[in-house]
Amino acid sequence: MLINSIILFLRDALPAFILISVLLAFANQQQRSLMWLGWGTALGFFSAVMLATLVDNLSELAEGAGMELTMILLQCLAYGMILLNLACSVGRQHNARLWQLTAAGAVLLTLTLDGANFLVFFVGFWTHGTSPLALMLGTMMGAAVCISVAVLLYLLCQHWLAGHRVWLCALFLLCWSAGQLVHILPLLAQVDLISPLQAVWDTSQWIADSSEMGHLLHSLFGYEAAPSFWQLVIYLLSALGPFAWLYLSKRQDNAAHLLGEDL
């Protein structure tokens, strides 16, 4: 139960901690208000409770694919929010209100997705659990691991942003969100909406998905020991495509700005 709770934290809670760390580093560096964090977490917890309450009936919809389809929709929305947010942080879009809205939206959606699964597990075990002490210890240790990773990541992002390496921060956030996004493919295959996925390679001999390191890397970058071809394609397109677009548009802006100064 102890290890199980820690792994559950790594899998379901860590992604939200990672997202908040990176957004917080951007917000502090760009001196933005922290309204997004309050609204995002409050609404995220509320909607996670709502989803956990509804999930029982939701999963019966669409011939048993209701939950998967909901998760896919929320995941795509979260990815869209992060793209818009990055466009405000490092791209051409400088709308402060849009930044706040998209940051709150991304936190809300991530907390909804991950929090609902978490609540299903915890409510089930707090009401019927036979080892509450192990569950409590596991919860504390899991929370400690997540907070530690989040603080380290926040410091790393702050270091990057202070050193004008904003692109490293943006690339990390894109890799993280692409890792979350590609998770929709196994969900689609699971409910028979796409053809089964065939693995391109298998690195489970080195880092197994089931290991603590596998869970950590999965939460950080969407690591899969045996990814399929389409998972790789979607990962690369959703991480590097927007990165290239943001980078090129910023360079064009800078070039135009320099030209204006020269004239």
Partner: protein
């Protein structure tokens, strides 16, 4: 005429879908007292199968498998469907995420006609 043809097209598509759905073999797993029954499930190689997991416990459970790349929460006294395969012959492990020490099992994939 065009309407009749369209309706015939829909009918043919429906029949095709029904026959396609019927072609997928179905297997059932039962979860009781945090144990899977059967704990070893044999399925044919190179064929997609529909796996129905029936949770007879009074706590939720997540059917999870790294080997099969599947995870699905099954609520108490509910059934859930997960499609798996086509798979190469071999042993694929699965477990209950919330009770990984007790709820464990294997999908054993065999070529048709393969004897023990």
């Amino acid at each position: 005429m065009a309407r009749v043809l369209t309706n015939c097209g829909y009918l043919a598509l429906g029949l095709f879908c029904l026959s396609a759905m019927g072609a997928v073999p179905e297997y059932e797993l039962v979860l009781k007292d945090h144990l899977f029954y059967p704990s070893k499930l044999e399925i044919p190689a190179n064929m997609k199968v529909r796996l129905i997991v029936h949770n007879q416990d009074d706590t939720p459970e997540e059917f999870d498998s790294f080997d099969l790349n599947r995870e699905k929460v099954i609520f108490p006294q509910r059934k859930a469907t997960v499609y798996i395969g086509p798979l190469q012959p071999g042993v694929y492990h699965f477990f209950g995420e919330y009770n990984p020490n007790s709820a464990r099992g294997q999908v054993i994939v065999k070529e048709p006609g393969d004897a023990d």
